[in-house]
Structures are given as structure tokens and as C-alpha cells.
Amino acid sequence: MNENEMLALGLAEAADAVARGEVTSVELTQAAISRARKLGPVLNCFTVLEAADALREAEKADGERKDAKPAGPLHGVPLAHKDLFYRAGKIVACGSKIRRDFVPETTATVLERLSAAGAVNLGALHMAEFAFSPTGYNEHYGHARNPWNTAHVPGGSSSGSGAAVAARIVFGSLGTDTGGSLRHPAAMCGLTGLKATLTRVSRAGVMPLSHSLDCVGPLARSARDCARLMEVIAGADRADATSSARPVPHYEALLEGGGRGLRIGVPRSYYYEAVSAEIKKTLDESLEALRGIGAKVSPVDVPDMNLINSLAHVLMAVEAATLHRRWLETRRDGYSDQVRARIEPGLFYPATRYCEALAMRASLTKEYIDTALKEVDVVHLPAIPIPVPTIEETTRGNPADVARVIGVVGHCTRGINYLGLPSISVPAGFDAKGLPVAFQLVGRPFSEAKLLRAAHAYQQVTGWHRRPPSPKPDPHRIELA
């Protein structure tokens, strides 16, 4: 296999090819490093590329395979992750100026689990400052760019993860999702991204934004790839007392079964209020494809999402302001204006409002399940209601217009974090400018297996997830080859 053929493989395909001896980990890693050197600077997606360490890990993986030692499900596969997962002894800056020299003493549980499963670490990926932007905005280190068109945002806050996986530099990546930070880059970069149920994946060793809302999840090319990553990272963790002790299903083994009998709900209100016509058309086509594989689609009601979004905002703002208060006092200039303006309101909310937002969570989650999910298995929603915006649209011009664009990006995602429900973002086609469009499927708590199965069934008949960013004679298009 040449470099392009190797990097065109999905994560599970690459791991299986290594297991069968069709390709070595060193070959895969060298190909990934080569592309990272070529495209990393164009996309601004790596904060650090650890080529020498990665090659050493790959050589070790190949040696273990040669010696017929037991191999994990990610044996020899190069990955890289958002720069907020702690790795002992390595700088983890969280996209910030304030933490640019921070060296943790511990390693995130999820990174340890990936290593134990055999993954090779290629480095750390760029992100929005302190995970605070749905577009990937980072004033300090520049914006990561969308591989489908570098004038556009890749989505955030896991911006580097979206860009690096979409550009076929790495086979998968972990991101975090507090209001859509994993689903936004998945949707905008044409990838599959799974925000798991709150408590499903350990958050030990992950720089928090808002502990009531933060979730860790996989971002990869397909539902199968996400299933393989989820099976490795999910499960109870003694280092994270909030992690669920519920057994982890064999997600990949549960993928088959197709879409026959799947009951899909489409909300009557709220979600489509901000959807543009061309996104609506693609979403309708995705529903038609789902009907084509035997799913039954019906309209459903949803609770007051404006209230739910506002309560999510209170939790996020107050918890973030609590974490950042000391730096807001002592290192105020270390923040970009846009990020500081998002954190500061949390200093002003009354404690009673915060407690109220926590207190209402059970009843509102139950209400969502009893209305939206009462008669269906999953709810089908837009991922992003508008076409992928340009970097310019989200940074320059009339501040009100910029705020509106940034605000609408999270219209369909942020409320799901308040409810703590799992959601998967699935590529569904392209807009008029050739940028990806996606839908979300939201399910009951711990229904990740069902979401992955539904997404997998859809991906078997559509193939949008297999398309790489296409080289075209456009200054903003990248060439993978």
C-alpha cells in the first residue's frame, strides 16, 4: 500500500490491516507523519507533532506483533487528541496562553486506555481557547482550518481533531463536548462524532470547562470507527467518581442489524426554526435514506428547548467562571476578549439560579424522554442549522452579526448536554459550496449502541462518510495526495 492508500483506510480497517500483517504500524505512522508535516501547517491542526516518539511506539507495536504478543483493538494505529487531555510530563495548553507552560503530573484515563489498546500517539491537536468556541476560534494561536475549504471554520472547540481526522492525517481522535464541541467539528468536517451519555466516559485528567456538562467522545470517519474507540475508552474509572459503573456494551459487535424497525422522531418545534433551506433539503434526504433502510419516521414534540438551553448556559457560565475566577483576577490579559466575555457572566449569576438549573435537570430530562423519546428510539435533529460559516463571518464585521452566527451554531447541540443524553453526528451530504452537512441522532441515556447501529446502517447505504476532502482548483481546497 502506498501512503494515500494507507491513509484512506478507516480506523478499524487500519487496525485490522495491522493485525493481518498487511501493513506495519511503522508504515502507517510514517505516512501519518508525512501528511501531518505537509498539511498540519496549512490546517493549523497540530500543537505538537511528536514524530520520534510516535515512531518508537510504532516500532514497539510491530515488535510485539512479530513476537505474537496479545494485541489490543487499536494496535499500531496512529491517533492524536485535543490538547486538553493530560499526559504526564508533556505541556497541555488547552488552546490557551494562560496554560501554555502547564505540565500535568498525571495522564488522562482515556489516554491510558488508548495506549493499553495499542494506539500510537502522534501528538496533540489544536483547539479553541479553553474549549470555549463552537467554531474553533483561537486568537492566540490562530484558527484551525476546515480541510474541505480552508476559508471556513472546522468547528469547535475540538477544531484540530476535526481537521486532522478529515484530512486523513490520523485515523481518529478524542474530543470533548460541553455544548457541541465534538459534534460541531464532526458535522463541519464530514466526520462521525459521538457525544456519549454524561458519566459514560471518564473525565479524569481532562481539563474541565463545566463539570456538569463536559463529555469525552470519539471523532472518526465512521460509526464503526467510533464504536471501536468507544469500547476502549468507556467504563467505570476509580479516578473519576462520576463515571458510571454500568457495563460497557460491545459496541462494534452490536453494529449490525440494520435500520429495520428503528423508530425515528422528528421534532415539530424549535430545532428547525433556525435551519436554512439547503440544510433542510439535505436533512430531508437523510430521513428518506433512513426510511429506505426500514426506519419508521414520525413527528414528535419536544419540551421548551429555550429554557433548557438557558439552564445549560447558567451551568456552563457559573462552573467555568468558578474555575477561571483566579485567572480572571490575576491574568485578565491572558484571555482573548471573545473568550473572557463568555466566561465573565458566570461571575454575576446568583447562586440560587445555579442551584435551580441543577435542581430542574432531572425533571426536564425525564420530560424530554417522556415527550420526544416516548414513542421512538432516537430523535433526528440538524447538527448545525446553517452552512459551515467562513472564518471571516465568525470573526469580523458587525459584532451582532458575528454573535448571531456563533450563537446559531450551537442551536441544536447545547441543550442535549444539559439533558446529558447521548448524541451522534453523522455526515449527510454537502451544501452548495461543497462543505459537509450532518444530522444528529439523540437517544435515551446509555443508548450509544443503538445510535452507533443506526448511524452504521445509514452509512452502509449512503457513503458520505467515505468521501475525503476533494482536490479542486480552488486556493482554499487542500490536496490530500
Partner: protein
């Protein structure tokens, strides 16, 4: 709050001086949804609601087939 409970709080925290600009800034930062949220929340919040029920709700409503 009872007088005895108030006495446990340092005096400087009992009377935080906020000038008009600070108050206006706080109000502006909390807008524009705050009033609507307040009304909706006021209409829904029950005495029995408490945060610990949330994790139980996730457990009880689980679907991991």
C-alpha cells in the same frame, strides 16, 4: 437568614458595595434571556426537585441494548 447565621459571615461580605455601573453591567451580562428563564423556571421548579435525582434519572431511563 437568621441574625446568628449572618454573624458568621464576615462584615465585608455582608455589604458588598456595587456601584451603578457594576449593577448595570451585571444586568446586561445576564440579559437577554434571564427574565424569560426566570419566569419559565419559576413556573416549573418544585420543592421536591433536587440534583441527586438527575443521575438516578439517567440510570432509570437507560437503554443500552
Amino acid at each position: 437568614m437568621s441574625k446568628s447565621a449572618l454573624e458568621l459571615i464576615p462584615g465585608e461580605l455582608q455589604a458588598v458595595a456595587l456601584n451603578d455601573a457594576d449593577v448595570a453591567r451585571a444586568a446586561a451580562l445576564a440579559a437577554p434571556t434571564n427574565q424569560k428563564v426566570r419566569e419559565a423556571a419559576d413556573a416549573r421548579l418544585r420543592f421536591e426537585d433536587e440534583p441527586a435525582l438527575y443521575l438516578a434519572c439517567l440510570r432509570d431511563e437507560a437503554d443500552d441494548r
